[in-house]
């Protein structure tokens, strides 16, 4: 019997080691796998490459990872936020490398990795600073920039429900990057509000098939109630 559920967030992140590349789902706080990130911080590994839409704000999640000095490089579309002082300080001090990627290219490059493409000609960024030095091509009268897939060793994502085969469904705009990061990471770890029995999820509405998920852990109930 295959059972991808694990009892604790600590067990869920136990294979992540120094130097790993880690995708983290979420857009703003929606879909942010806070408890997995906390467990990753507690694990103490560093030199990480983080792929997330933002670079953290406030004192939690990605911001805390940066504050603790665990992040060597971040690939994101929108690092500058009202309360992103930990990223700002690390960036200005030259302690973190930033790869700034237009959000649609970020999504498409993650999707391309999951789908096995070698590279994609994307319409976004042509003629801008963010395409400097990149190969471009005129196709059918339109300019495109060649972009490469973004893969990762791990993805930490948040879903609403998951089963022991790793099938997931999400809730509202917390879905965001979860499904495509699950496809692009070698090991995908999903924090879910509820682990449900196999068969409880309608096969027509499963958003992430279990093939893309390696670990499922239920959020601590007390925290889930607050979230």
């Amino acid at each position: 019997m295959i059972d991808k559920t694990v009892p604790t967030v600590e067990a869920a992140v136990a294979e992540i080691s120094d130097g790993a590349s880690v995708m983290i789902g979420g857009f703003g706080t929606a879909g942010m796998p806070d408890e997995l990130i906390d467990a990753l911080i507690a694990r103490g590994v560093g030199d990480l490459t983080i792929i997330n839409n933002n670079a953290g704000n406030g004192e939690h999640g990605v911001a805390a990872l940066i504050r603790e000095g665990r992040v060597r490089k971040i690939i994101c579309s929108f690092p500058r936020q009202s309360d992103s002082h930990h990223f700002d300080a690390a960036f200005r001090a030259g302690k973190i490398e930033l790869e700034l990627v237009p959000q649609g290219n970020l999504a498409a490059r993650i999707h391309a990795a999951g789908a096995g493409l070698g590279a994609i000609f994307t319409p976004t960024g042509f003629g801008t600073q963010l395409a400097e030095g990149k190969e471009t091509r005129l196709i059918d009268g339109r300019h495109y920039v060649l972009e490469y897939p973004i893969q990762a060793d791990f993805a930490l994502i948040k879903a609403e429900q998951g089963d022991r085969w790793g099938n997931l469904v999400y809730r509202k705009t917390a879905r965001n990057f979860g499904p495509i990061m699950a496809m692009a990471a070698r090991t995908t770890i999903a924090q879910v509000r509820h682990i449900v029995p196999l068969g409880a999820l309608d096969p027509e509405v499963i958003v992430t098939p279990g093939i893309f998920v390696q670990r499922v852990v239920e959020s601590a109930p007390a925290l889930a109630a607050v979230a």
């Binding site: 857009f27 237009p102 994307t122 976004t124 509202k172």
Partner: protein, 218 residues
Amino acid sequence: MNRLNRDQMAERVARDIPEGAYVNLGIGLPTKVANYLPADRDIFLQSENGLLGMGPAPAKGEEDWELINAGKQAVTLLTGGCFFHHADSFAMMRGGHLDICVLGAFQVSIHGDLANWHTGEPGAIPAVGGAMDLAIGAKQTFVMMELFTKQGACKLVEACTYPLTGLGCVSRVYTDMAVFDLGVDGAKVVEMVEGLTLEDLRQSTGLTLTLANEIEAA
């Protein structure tokens, strides 16, 4: 001359959005446009974070922080709306499925180049988000901005000096003083506020401006 205030600008943009349009309103000023879309018309607002059929803000105390817009504000979903993941959301934008997007800008060139993501100042932390995707993806990209900065610099320019968001992507600019159509032939004045003349506009902007076919006073 009666300059439009920001609400009047939003109202003016809203008048050009037809029923049935799929529209993305950028963060900041363009979000005001939603307030002037008539409730009895089906207009479909898309949010880059995976939402089509976005409704107004919820009542205070009824926010759901898993139902937010691109500006991370709590929103609602209209009956008939739906959710999807980020690749599908940006496929909508980049694949040309949106009819209109409305963006703010630092500068727009008379040929439709857009600069709205980065001041380029030393030490400024760049952040692009979905701006570049929206700018080049929608069938029509509208910009909504005051024509002049607080310091008096014209934001409609011959060529942008700020870092570009996209090339030749803006088709129309709505400002507090006039509405312009942009293109390979340069800027054409579509409308001016009462009391403003084409000559005034030419002088204050320093641009070669022509009149579009039909000119009407706002």
